[in-house]
């Protein structure tokens, strides 16, 4: 008996390690893609194409050549002819690792050592790039000696990409456009859905069950079913009144309409679960439905209203389809997702621009998501576990 329990304890501790490692593996795989664009967006434009983003935390080594100062700079010191200077044009940015005097052996000598180049000539290159070339004979000719050296480039991070993308690429303007679309399209459906949800939960009227069934049916209707007729309606209305058919008002209403089935469904199931006694006692005290709704139901429903608001915000902010159909592509209307899609076409390989724009696109949802995760998860559970 004791033996058996000892064995199982041993196995379970091994198992626990396995669980930790497996979980860590999943977390790493799920996080690395996002980390990749974040790191890349902060890298120097030239370094992005020079090495993978995972290498950006380490110094990279490159071999270069430089020319020492010419014989006209030589000075005579202790019976020797000496030329001093730096292999770098702007010293301090890099570190020399090794150097050499011939292209075949560019890194023959350790940095800081004095290399014997033969014929009484020596060369010393230090880590900071300074060098001392000396010779027993006078240097002649018009040009300095060619040297080769390997230098390490320290990781360089910058926010330049962000400045560039936000202003000259027009992503900043699109950010504003996205906010213009998202905020009204998040707030307007809440009020409309809350009243409808209350009526469907607490008022008795003929056709109620049918309406609920219709709304549950509409929950899963693909948006594709709505696009063509709505486009026709919008074009018709535009022609009739001589106004543009693609407007912010149009997309606000479209998002409101598309968001309503889920909003009503989510709010109704929550409001229906509020305690009956509170409603009844308020009714006995003479409160009307309107008063009950405003003074009791609305304040009590705050958590579910917050849940829906987060859903709708994420959905509208991240939407591309509705924006492409109902909003124009001009700079005053193009939203972030549309902008990013356009950049993918026009700036295909410019990863400095693409990764930076992508991160700007996802930053606000991530902030909202992390700060309000509790409400989001609650809504997710309420919205899907019961129905679908």
């Amino acid at each position: 008996m004791a033996q058996a329990s000892g064995k199982s304890a041993g196995r379970s501790s091994l198992g626990t390690w396995g669980v930790h490692i497996a979980a860590l593996l999943f977390v790493v795989v799920w996080t690395i893609p996002t980390l990749g664009i974040l790191v890349t967006s902060l890298r120097d434009k030239d370094q992005i194409v020079g090495s993978g983003w995972w290498a950006s935390f380490f110094s990279s080594t490159q071999v270069q050549q430089a020319r020492l100062a010419g014989p006209d700079k030589q000075i005579e010191k202790d019976g020797k002819f000496v030329i001093e200077g730096s292999v770098f044009e702007t010293p301090g940015s890099r570190q020399v690792a090794a150097f050499g005097a011939r292209a075949q052996e560019p890194t023959k000598f350790q940095v800081g050592t004095t290399a014997d180049l033969g014929d009484g000539e020596t060369l010393q290159v230090n880590a900071d790039g300074s060098y001392v070339q000396s010779s027993t004979k006078k240097f002649e000719g018009s040009r300095g000696q060619r040297v080769y050296f390997s230098s390490t480039v320290p990781p360089r991070f910058t926010t330049e990409n962000y400045g560039n993308v936000l202003t000259s690429e027009g992503v900043g303007r699109s950010f504003l456009n996205s906010l213009t679309v998202t905020i009204p399209a998040t707030i307007i459906p809440i009020m409309i859905a809350a009243f409808a949800a209350y009526a469907l939960a607490w008022m008795r009227f003929p056709g109620r069950a049918l309406l609920i069934a219709v709304i549950i049916g509409l929950l899963v209707v693909p948006l594709q079913m709505a696009l063509i007729p709505l486009l026709e309606i919008y074009n018709g209305v535009g022609n009739l009144f001589g106004v543009p058919s693609k407007t912010y008002l149009g997309i606000w209403l479209a998002h409101t309409g598309f968001g309503l089935p889920f909003a009503i469904y989510l709010l109704r199931s929550y409001i229906a679960g509020l305690p009956r006694e509170i409603m009844e006692s308020a009714r006995i005290d003479g409160a009307s439905d309107f008063e009950i709704f405003m003074k009791i139901v609305l304040p009590l429903s705050f958590p579910v209203l917050a849940s829906f608001a987060i859903f709708q915000f994420l959905w509208v902010w991240n939407d591309l389809l509705v924006a492409m159909v109902f909003l124009g592509a001009g700079s005053n209307e193009l939203v972030l997702t549309g902008k990013l899609n356009a950049l993918l076409g026009s700036r295909g390989g410019d990863w400095d621009i693409l990764t930076t724009s992508a991160f700007i696109t996802i930053i606000l949802p991530l902030v909202v998501f992390f700060s309000l995760q509790r409400y989001f998860v609650r809504g997710l559970l309420a919205g899907s576990v019961k129905g679908g």
């Binding site: 993978g52 707030i187 009227f205």
Partner: protein
């Protein structure tokens, strides 16, 4: 720009204010027309009854109008348009459906959609379940869940850029800056242009949706797992069941309903997948799917509404069984 901010704020105020004004005003109006106070007994009772008949429709009215204009009417209209020509007016019978059956791109889309339907919901549910079981057992499980859940907040377009960067290809001999090709090269393989490999590119696109949706499956299944009564598992342990038996025979049957909900929810999402294909390949290299093909036909050459509507109807038909099942389920629960 300032005008834009101003008009957005104005709309919020008008929208919210208008809603409140409507509901409050309409409510007041009913009270005025059918007063229940200050009138004789029988009249008050009659008026209360009339109020009770009208008021629910006042509350539900705006929602009903919006639902009708933005969903119910368009659904009916799309079905009709699918029997009509390019401009959406002349009746052409089943011609669009016949065209669809014979069209190579359409068939390719159907094939790819089926592939997506087979792989994505299964992968998300399976991975979500595995991660839920793993993270429920460890002290840093909440953090792990948050991080795996995080892609759910990212737009499909944003996710496409993230993964396009991973799939980035550069010619042999050059430094690979795409993570996948770097790994392949490090293992001694040759770099590939992943998203233009017919058939296999579907899977590289599916990975994006799986990456996004696994967090959703994980959260829902994790909460279902925690709802399993402790006694059922303890009883199994006492009876000598091993962890795999406990998982398959005790836990899975108890969360089966939730697994189906997760599966169907992701299935619907897969049928509507559009952004990922548009941004990654736009249907090139045999990676087309129905939703993107529909969008394509809506605007291609000035737009062919008949064909676009036909494709939409076919997506709708695929969703229909789930829709009916949902409604029946809701009726059974006594709504």
């Amino acid at each position: 720009m300032a005008a834009q901010i101003f008009s957005a704020i104005l709309v919020i105020l008008i929208g919210v204010g208008g809603c409140i004004a409507y509901f409050w005003g309409a409510n007041k109006l009913v009270d005025l027309i059918f007063p229940s106070r200050g009138v004789s007994g029988q009249a008050a009772i009659d008026n209360l009854r009339r109020q009770g008949l009208i008021r629910p429709w006042l509350f539900i009215g705006p929602a009903l109008i919006l639902l009708t204009v933005y969903l119910i009417y368009p659904v009916i209209s799309t079905v009709i348009t699918s029997f009509q020509d390019k401009s959406g007016h002349g009746f052409v019978g089943l011609a669009n459906y016949q065209w669809a059956l014979g069209d190579g791109q359409f068939r390719n889309s159907i094939f790819n959609n089926l592939l997506w339907l087979l792989v994505v919901p299964a992968a998300c549910t399976f991975l979500g379940l595995v991660i839920a079981v793993l993270t429920d057992k460890i002290w840093w499980g909440t953090i792990a869940k948050s991080l795996i859940f995080l892609p759910l907040a990212i737009s499909f377009v944003g996710a496409s850029v993230i993964w396009k960067f991973i799939y980035e290809y550069r010619g042999e001999g050059q430094v690979q800056i795409g993570a996948l090709n770097a790994i392949v090269q490090w293992l001694g393989g040759d770099p590939e242009v992943w998203i233009s490999m017919p058939f296999w590119n579907n899977f590289f696109l599916m990975v994006i949706l799986i990456w996004i949706q696994t967090g959703f499956a994980m959260v829902i299944l994790s909460s279902a797992l925690r709802g399993i009564p402790e006694e059922t598992i303890e009883a199994a342990v006492i009876d000598g069941a091993n962890p795999f038996q406990i998982f398959w025979k005790i836990m899975i049957p108890q969360i089966w309903g939730t697994i189906i909900v997760v599966w169907t929810t992701i299935t619907i999402l897969v049928l509507k997948v559009f952004d990922i294909v548009l941004t990654m390949t736009n249907g090139q290299w045999n990676s087309q799917v129905l939703a993107n093909l529909m969008f394509d036909w809506m605007f291609r050459g000035g737009g062919d509404f008949g064909k676009g509507a036909t494709i939409a109807v076919i997506i709708m038909i695929a969703v229909l069984p789930i829709m009916i099942w949902n409604i029946r389920q809701a009726n059974r629960e006594g709504l």
